[in-house]
Symmetry: C2
Subunit: 589 residues, 2 copies
């Protein structure tokens, strides 16, 4: 039967052997105490919690779902107890500042724990994820009084957080939103509006829900430059920190969704509720966006986590399920003997392991951005993160969904029924391609904003890093055969990049039309880079298990032979431009 | 709000202008009366029935699902009434022989109606589809007595059919099945066994369910050569044709599935029930497989139908939903203005319309196989159908699912919730990649059996037909630019075909590893061929609506520029062979 085991060994290989985080953390004064031993034990413990407490609630939570009873959201059986255990163990405050009760651990550790949460129970994982996001926005922009009032209880998990952005007519285009906020005499605001798709909008797991709501103040400019951010607690907090009266916030409905059934996605009504502004007037979107990189990395990791869970089940099934014959084995064989099944499993693994490496690489850049003493390094790291954020968010959720679908296919009919859990992974993984900015929006962000960020320095530096690895790889017998196809793919990527920045594809429609294929190409090259780095880390003489080394080399070869060839197609597709797409009148589609 | 409109105009374009069925049917004595006017009115009426009766039950049926109450399966509200209306209008017997109450219409008409059934209500469409499949097997193999007893009521829809093949340990490998049949004194058999994943296994919509059950007779050889086929009615039929006692058949459980919730997929127990052998002893699989081509074409069409339904909603939404700005239009624009949304819609349409053309092409070959007076033409047509069956089944469901996912993405968050119906299409479409032989099995069938069928004549003839079109296209100004990339892709396809048949990729593991990519490449070239044929049919001087001509040309160009480039990648991936896939020991995955 299906199970979930946190991939701690692979995570430690990345941290220790591929990225040598011990050297990176040594340069970060606040992090230099966090050695590999500490990190390993944190990951082991987190993995245990996820396997033993959260994973068993995953299927049951999907079946039971959330209910809205007399205005109160009921989460599935066991969720409230799991939240309590999670919070009491301090998992919610892993990367939060120590002054508010957190442990100030690196993002890199945080995000690997997020992968485990996502793989074992995505619906549950969104509660701490959104709470952390709200905390980060409050910490970065709110007044000290608000921080002191709200952060300790949010970090400890006594209260949770929610982000209220989307409205019925304002999704990808938040500039259209209509919620309003009018000032009160005491400096607080009256917030009015209706929001949809609000994850963790209400529930029965914690004492209070702290909503961050986007709304317009009187005389605000139209569009995105007239949006402010407000903190609106479900239950008002008294001056002494105790809970007071109920605020005028209510759940309009629970959305009926394809998946993440144990996650209460709410229609929320803010009926003249009391709120406090976070940050500057009309600068609400900017305040929200300071934590967007982290949120989008988190969503990308959701795609990765669910894909890994699906792959684990597919692999276990493929080893046990006896069907058919194969040329080299006697009698009926486990289906893993069939080349096509092996191909399917390797297609999943060659994505998952490279994606995990990209996550670690990006999270380390976030740690440098936050903790490095050198301002130039901080800035460069931040720009690199900005560049990679849309890639991670979209590619890990797109490929992650495809991997979950492949993992379902390995089980045949058994993948379509509830019993093995594979169909839930597909339904759950699907949301990550949509929320926190659809993958189409991510691709636009990459092509339109990120390629030209800082005059194109970040993207040039990124490609230069890959070239550097290729140069190193050329001298290593195991890595050199991988470097060759990757170099060719990088040539294609650089070629279309130049054309998109300032060449024949730099027109707005051409960029818009190219974006999704371009992001995919960018991701493939990035995954290929990670594979070369992983194989380099497996160089002879490294004290690594032979099984890991063999597996990495095989998966790397597979990636270059059976996945990376798509780069050529993508480059051709991008090169076609938008002409034929734009020429057709709307009504003739 | 979402709706479904049967694509009758596009169907008639294919029948009349692209394939000129009037000329083909004129050569088939039994079909020459069926002119375009008759066919058009049948399609119009069927479309009306699907839009007005079946589509409104689709979402409600998904939500309500089927229930098992005291051993009896209850279908959702309205399904029984719809079945009655469907049967009374004669839709179930469209292509059935007139001697049993059918209308003996061409497969080509039948399959287009199947597309509408699938697009409007896939769960419902499986009832007539499986009944037809059972009728075809009975008609081809059963004794006259069985035919006379069962076919009239099955054709009229008073009774329905079900196919019981799969067991818990025998799915893709039916040779492992364990159900048994022992002879009775009266010539009938006692059938015992448990079957899973039985679509339409039981329900409350018709008076009887006729099960075709695969089982082993005493002393049967092991494997697939020891399987016989039995007709086991849920309720025994008296000599006078009236219903008698309940047979020993019971529903063990309803499967909990990802989608097609309104379709009762049953665990069926045959507890020593009475059955009658259909066909020869130990030749049951062969009997089942005579109707497999038709069944697999039907499943392929399911992928197409659901994709089209999803595309219709996505298109309607894209025209209405106002978000963002675009370079050439003032103010907030409908999202169809954005190049990426247009690209997404065209990716769906360029698949859907080409797939529909492939379906018509293949169904016409089935009609030739059945109705043509010339035995050589019948045989050639049959071989062509055999070649194309796995391609249609797998490619239309794979690409169909991808299209449904794309259609969901167009709606952003609104695609993930139930309201717009897009998430149901994704869940429903997913099954078609699995049942009736998984798409992996289809690919194996194509590469291992179909390429070498009749010494490779069918595949060579198929490619020759494409070359012929390319030669014609070269002289037409609109088609010539499409012929060039298609010719290059065909070169690649022919190249790997030769290598898979008798070259460096002809080893069993290489073929097995190549199969899925090869089928996809084969399908892309086939779709490209259809696009060239459609554009040729739009040649200047044809009396076609300008809107249709413009649309077809744009979609064809899009396909060549933005979809067909994948051919290069697939050819490279296939060329890699199975070496790196097979080398890794099972335990190191």
């Amino acid at each position: 039967m299906p199970h979930y085991k946190a991939p701690v060994e692979d995570m430690m290989f990345l941290l220790r052997d591929v990225f040598r985080v011990q050297d990176i953390f040594a340069e970060l004064p606040e992090q230099k105490e966090n050695d590999l031993e500490i990190i390993s034990s944190i990951l082991e413990e987190a993995g245990k919690f996820c396997s033993e407490i959260l994973y068993p609630l995953n299927a049951a939570g999907d079946i039971e779902g959330c209910r809205l009873e007399n205005g109160i959201v009921r989460t599935p059986k066991g969720f409230a107890e799991a939240w309590k255990a999670f919070s009491e163990a301090g998992w919610g405050g892993l990367s939060a500042p120590t002054e508010y009760g957190g442990q100030n651990l690196p993002r890199t550790v945080q995000i690997l724990v997020d992968e485990m949460l996502s793989g074992s129970n995505l619906s549950f994982g969104l509660f701490p994820g959104l709470t952390r996001g709200a905390c980060e926005a409050i910490e970065a922009h709110a007044s000290q009084a608000l921080k002191d009032t709200y952060l300790p209880n949010m970090v400890s998990g006594v209260w949770t957080g929610a982000m209220a952005l989307t409205e019925g007519n304002a999704g990808s285009d938040l500039g259209l939103l209509k919620a309003t906020a009018t000032p009160r005499a005491d400096g607080s605001w009256t917030v009015t509006g209706s929001k949809i798709f609000i994850s963790s909008g209400d529930h029965d797991m914690a004492e209070n829900v702290i909503h961050l709501v986007l709304a317009r103040i009187p005389d605000a400019p139209a569009g995105t430059k007239g949006i402010s951010l407000f903190l609106c607690p479900k239950i008002l907090v008294n001056a002494d920190g105790t809970l007071g009266a109920r605020n005028a916030i209510s759940v309009g409905a629970l959305e009926h969704k394809m998946g993440i059934h144990a996650q209460p996605t709410c229609v929320m009504n803010y009926d003249g509720c009391q709120g406090w502004m976070v940050g500057e007037p009309n600068r609400g979107l900017a305040a929200m966006f300071t934590m967007m990189n982290a949120e989008r990395l988190f969503v990308g990791v959701q795609g990765l986590g669910v894909a890994d869970a699906s792959c684990q089940t597919a692999l276990a099934y493929a080893r046990e399920r006896m069907q058919g014959r194969s040329p080299d084995r006697a009698g009926t064989v486990p289906i893993i003997a069939h080349a096509d099944v092996r191909r399917t499993l390797l297609s999943m693994q060659s994505f998952i392991e490279a994606a995990r490496a990209m996550v670690v690489y990006t999270a380390l850049e976030m740690d440098r951005e936050k903790f490095h003493p050198d301002a130039t390094i901080r800035q460069r790291a931040g720009e690199n993160v900005a560049l990679l954020t849309p890639v991670i968010k979209a590619a890990l959720t797109d490929f992650g969904f495809e991997a979950a679908v492949a993992g379902q296919q390995v089980l045949g009919g058994h993948g379509y029924i509830r019993e093995w859990g594979q169909e839930q992974y597909v339904r759950d993984a699907r949301i990550a391609m949509i929320y926190e900015g659809t993958n189409g929006i991510q691709a636009q962000d990459l092509v339109i904003r990120k390629l030209t960020l800082a005059e194109g320095l970040p993207v040039r530096s990124y490609f230069a890093q890959i070239r550097q690895t290729l140069a190193v790889a050329a001298a290593h017998s195991n890595a050199a055969p991988l470097a060759e196809p990757l170099g060719a793919a990088l040539d294609l990527l650089e070629g279309v990049t130049t054309r998109l920045i300032s060449g024949d594809l730099a027109g707005p429609d051409d960029r818009n039309a190219a974006a999704v294929d371009y992001l995919r190409l960018f991701a493939l090259v990035s995954f290929g880079w990670m594979w070369v780095r992983m194989v380099l880390a497996c160089a002879p003489g490294q004290p690594l298990p032979d099984a890991l080394v063999q597996h990495k080399r095989a998966a790397a070869t597979f990636f270059m032979q059976r996945v990376l060839p798509q780069a050529t197609a993508l480059s051709q597709q991008i090169s076609a431009g938008a002409g034929s797409i734009m020429a057709l009148p709307d009504e003739l589609f």
